[in-house]
């Protein structure tokens, strides 16, 4: 009991400690690919530290929602990220939320952030919120259809059970899994506001979505939102890793050795995932905002196709 609580706590600390590092790694690899030196991989930690120590400048007509939202967004994303298996599956609180709940929790965080974007009543906040909910209204159903595909295969929506199923030899190579993987990557890119959907490094550009929504934030509030964005990226990389590359993940009742192996494997997976994302972001161009529905519509159809194939035959 104590040990499992410690492992769960370690997971919570681990995700929050590693999230800025992953963001820094992606930035570094991108910079190197563009033949730039780039900031150090620990730059996001410095940014966050600097931001929390600054005064928060809040618009005069901002309501309590504006000030509460960053903390809630951060904590909801944190709880969601802590429920995805990273180095070990079957953590003690994993039964309190299945994959559908995790997706919906991210929806709650986005709901609050979109409202906060409208709170001050500026045109940039409005454009950001409006486009964010448009993207989410397609990405969320696509994600749920991916969840359906995984759940139909594993016979469970519980992430720990899915990971255990993926580790067995019964899985094999399946068409539906391939479709789900492609769709999940597309959804992950859209949800994390990465290129080609949105550019996390841009300001003052009419195509920006997420950055426009949080434009009014500063100081510790902005730090919370940046940390939440890093956590969300970590969550998606962990999710893809734990479902499609579950090797090394420690089972529910394991010793210290397998936890150590799990940690190492997880670090490798994160590094590979981050590097792949950086490569992908470097080779594609940002698309117009009204091309996004086609991109996400494709993800939705892939998810639906994956689920349909499993309804037709369990072996596909």
């Amino acid at each position: 009991m104590i040990i499992s609580l410690v492992v769960q706590a370690a997971q919570m600390v681990l995700v929050i400690a590693l999230a800025p590092l992953l963001t820094g790694l992606v930035r570094k690899v991108k910079a190197r690919l563009m033949r730039r030196q780039g900031p150090s991989v620990i730059q996001p930690y410095r940014d966050l530290l600097r931001l929390v120590h600054k005064d928060a400048v809040v618009a005069a007509n901002a309501s309590w929602l504006f000030r509460v939202a960053p903390y809630l967004v951060f904590s909801i994303t944190w709880v969601a990220a802590a429920l995805v298996p990273t180095f070990a599956s079957g953590l003690i609180f994993s039964w309190s939320a299945d994959l559908i709940v995790i997706v919906a929790l991210l929806g709650s965080a986005r709901f609050l952030l979109a409202l906060a974007g409208l709170d001050v009543g500026t045109s940039f906040g409005g454009i950001g919120s409006s486009r964010e909910v448009m993207i989410a209204s397609l990405a969320e159903p696509a994600m749920l259809l991916i969840v359906f595909t995984l759940a139909l295969l594993a016979g469970s929506t519980q992430l720990s059970s899915i990971v255990e199923f993926m580790l067995t030899s019964a899985v094999g190579v399946r068409v539906s899994l391939g479709l789900a993987l492609v769709a999940l990557i597309m959804v992950g890119i859209a949800e994390n506001a990465r290129i080609p959907i949105d550019n996390p490094a841009t300001h003052l550009e009419l195509t920006m979505v997420h950055e426009a929504m949080v434009l009014e934030y500063s100081g510790r509030h902005l730090a919370m939102i940046e940390a939440a964005a890093s956590l969300k990226l970590l969550l998606y990389v962990s999710l893809i890793a734990c479902v499609f590359a579950p090797w090394g993940t420690a089972p529910a009742t394991a010793g210290a050795a397998s936890y150590l192996v799990g940690m190492l494997a997880y670090a490798v997976k994160l590094a590979v995932g981050g590097a792949l994302l950086a490569v992908f972001e470097t080779v594609v161009a940002k698309m117009r905002v009204f091309r996004v529905p086609q991109f996400l519509g494709a993800a939705l159809m892939l998810g639906l196709l994956g689920a349909l194939l499993l309804f037709v035959s369990r072996s596909l």
Binding site: V58, V79, A97, S108, F111, M134, L144, L152, Q158, V289
Partner: protein, 671 residues
């Protein structure tokens, strides 16, 4: 015992209606009417809840010497009616509480006070009725009561049109139910529900009855394409009545459907569920798309009722599919999901309509494009409306999520179904459910953001004041219930179990209250589980921990300044995003398909001084495709028949003779 109490309560409500009609102008009358409705609702709520949780094995029933002379009027409370009595009277009690304050602003109380208790009595009688005759009579009574309330502000031209369309649709629905019950009763006229239940109709008759029940109950509930009256009529009534019509009366319609299809009709055929699921999926998505295009706060909420009815019918359709294949446990899960969503929707829809009523009282506006910034001036209303918005958007850890999560779990059990049609339909319906949930969240970001956040767009919104204590109390109770059901859904599921067991032939979901920490486990723990309480506790803990750490160790200073807006802040509130501009991206994605949406930019020529204009044209394809042709056809037919008015007496007599010969010929051929 409880049926006697309930009928006595209905009698008190009818007495209150007469009293309300006697001296409507007197302020004490208003207080007495709403207080009496509140008291009656509380008594019935307690009686019904006791019947549901700890009712006797044999349902209490009673026959009154009213109605058809050879039969009398039968009334009965089984677990299903007890559950719906809980829904009806919880909503009715809180609407009465809200009415205590809201009714003060009513300028024509004589058009509300007599009909409000009568409407409540009608809804209760529908649920209590145990024969077709009393059921239909109560159903019509309920329809007419609510119609009178829709007509309360009849001088506004929109309202009388809404009431006219409502009346037409209500009569059409009742006609369908009348025919359905006629088929069920058979040639011997066995109208009692007990006799109908014992007789099993042939497959063809049963299918016909299902179609008629879908038309009759579906038109009252708001299934697409029978939903057209709902967004017109619900907002036209005073707000506490809108809450009752949208939150409660649609649930009485769901009760009618469940009673006929699950209880009276006998074992279902697999194709029934396909029809129900397809209609339900389309209803859920179209309802929320209509809502997104809508800028009138109350009408937006009414369209969301259409969406949620779709979600409820998805659960019912799944239950039919499972029952047709003798999968009792999954059927119980799907039914639980549907009935839990019935309860949840009655909570948050009433809450949201109360909130919109409060906004209407405070600003005189229903159009979101004229509101803004109300969170500063109406903090309690804004907070409760936020809870309601999050609940209806199916966000954890609130109650709307719990029931939609159960529906998803039921969908995931459906690969067991052998029919190919269902194998293709169910994943598509699952996708539609997910799409409608995501779009609902977008829509409520718009509704809450435009009304309560930002800056006031009109002076009326800038001068708004918080509403009275009665209204606030009703809204606070409802938002508390939304949170409680969200974090303890297991208790609600267990309370529902007796009603489910009657419908699902003895099957029920596993007992939830034995699970540790109020976890919900629909099938087995390794398959899926959800714990709203722990999720909420984790969120609150980590949020307060973070806020505490940051405030303590880093900075807690706040500087207020003008908005940043990338250096171009504009003090004119017109430069804010409006509801129309907020929905524009979604309109571009879905609008061309669902509404044949067109945008036309009117650019002035160089040198012209008039402003450029953007006009958006949306077409209601259901109205244009289904109702307009019918209306044109009826008009054409009436014109043709008009000639009959000006015939000579000879021709009339010959017409009568021809008709007689025709009927006799038909009779002779029939025999």
């Amino acid at each position: 015992m409880s049926v006697e109490i309930s009928l006595a309560c209905v009698a008190v409500l009818l007495g209150t209606a007469v009293f309300g009609g006697a001296a409507p102008r007197h302020p004490a009358t208003r207080f007495c009417v709403y207080a009496s409705c509140f008291g009656v609702a509380v008594v019935m709520l307690v009686a019904a809840a006791r019947e549901l949780v700890a009712g006797a094995a044999v349902p209490s029933s009673m026959t009154l010497p009213l109605g058809l002379p050879w039969m009398g009027a039968h009334f009965r409370i089984d677990r299903l009616s007890a559950f719906f009595l809980v829904v009806v009277n919880l909503g009715a009690g809180l609407a009465s509480l809200y009415g205590l304050g809201y009714g003060r602003h009513e300028h024509a109380p004589g058009r509300v006070l007599p009909f409000f208790p009568a409407f409540l009595a009608g809804m209760n009688m529908v649920v209590l009725a145990d024969d077709a005759f009393s059921f239909l009579l109560s159903w019509e009574f309920m329809s007419l009561g609510s119609w009178a309330l829709v007509m309360a502000h009849h001088r506004e031209p929109e309202n009388s049109r809404a009431a006219y369309i409502y009346l037409l649709m209500a009569s059409f629905g009742t006609l369908a139910l009348l025919l359905g019950f006629g088929l069920l009763a058979g040639p011997d006229g066995a109208y009692g529900f007990a006799e109908i239940r014992a007789a099993h109709p042939s497959a063809r008759v049963a299918g016909l009855v299902l179609a008629l029940a879908l038309l009759g109950a579906g038109s009252k509930a708001g299934l697409v394409p029978l939903h057209v009256w709902l967004p017109l009529a619900h907002p036209a009534a005073p707000s506490h009545v809108s809450a009752l019509m949208s939150g409660i009366m649609t649930k009485v319609a769901v009760y009618g459907f469940v009673r006929i299809v699950f209880d009276l009709l006998g074992p279902p055929a697999p194709w029934w569920s396909m029809v129900v699921l397809a209609l339900a999926g389309i209803t859920a998505v179209l309802g929320v798309l209509y809502a997104l295009m809508e800028h009138d706060l109350k009408r937006l909420l009414a369209y969301h009722t259409v969406e949620n009815i779709g979600i409820i019918f998805i659960g019912l359709g799944l239950a039919l599919a499972f029952q047709a294949n003798d999968l009792a446990a999954p059927a119980a899960l799907a039914l639980t999901a549907a009935l839990l969503h019935v309860f949840n929707h009655s909570l948050f829809k009433s809450l949201l309509f109360f909130g919109s009523g409060a906004v209407l009282v405070a600003t005189g506006e229903r159009d979101m494009e004229h509101l803004g910034g109300l969170i500063h001036r109406m903090p309690v209303t804004a907070f409760t409306f936020l809870i309601g918005s999050a609940a209806i958007s199916a966000l954890p850890p609130l109650n709307g999520f719990a029931s939609e999560w159960l529906t998803f779990q039921a969908i995931l059990l459906s690969p067991q179904l052998p029919q190919w049609g269902l194998k293709f339909l169910v994943p598509a319906v699952g996708g539609m459910l997910a799409l409608s949930a995501a779009l609902a969240a977008a829509c409520f970001v718009k509704a809450f953001g435009m009304s309560f956040l930002g800056r006031a767009r009109r002076p009326a919104a800038a001068a708004a004041q918080e509403v009275d204590r009665w209204s606030l109390a009703a809204m606070l109770v409802l938002s508390l219930l939304c949170v409680l059901v969200g974090i303890f859904p297991g208790l609600a599921i267990d309370a529902l179990a007796p009603a489910i067991r009657d419908l699902a032939h003895g099957a029920r979901m596993p007992v939830q209250s034995v699970d540790p920490w109020f976890t919900v486990i629909p099938v087995t723990a390794s398959r899926s589980s959800y714990n709203g309480l722990l999720v909420l506790a984790f969120i609150i803990l980590s949020a307060s921990l973070t806020a505490f750490t940051v405030h303590r160790l880093a900075s807690r200073a706040i500087r207020r300044s003008a908005p940043w807006d990338c250096g171009y802040p504009d003090s004119n509130p017109i430069t804010q995003y409006t509801a129309g501009s907020f929905a524009q991206p979604i309109r571009r994605v879905f609008g061309t398909l669902a509404f044949a949406a067109r945008e036309r930019v009117d650019m002035p020529l160089p040198g012209e001084l008039r402003p450029a204009r953007l006009a958006v044209q949306l077409r209601d394809l259901v109205w244009d495709g289904v109702y307009r042709p019918i209306a044109v056809g009826v008009g054409f037919g009436a014109d043709q028949l008009n000639h009959l008015q000006f015939l000579t007496i000879r021709r009339y007599l010959s017409l009568v003779f021809v008709a007689l010969v025709f009927l006799l010929t038909v009779l002779a051929l029939w025999q």
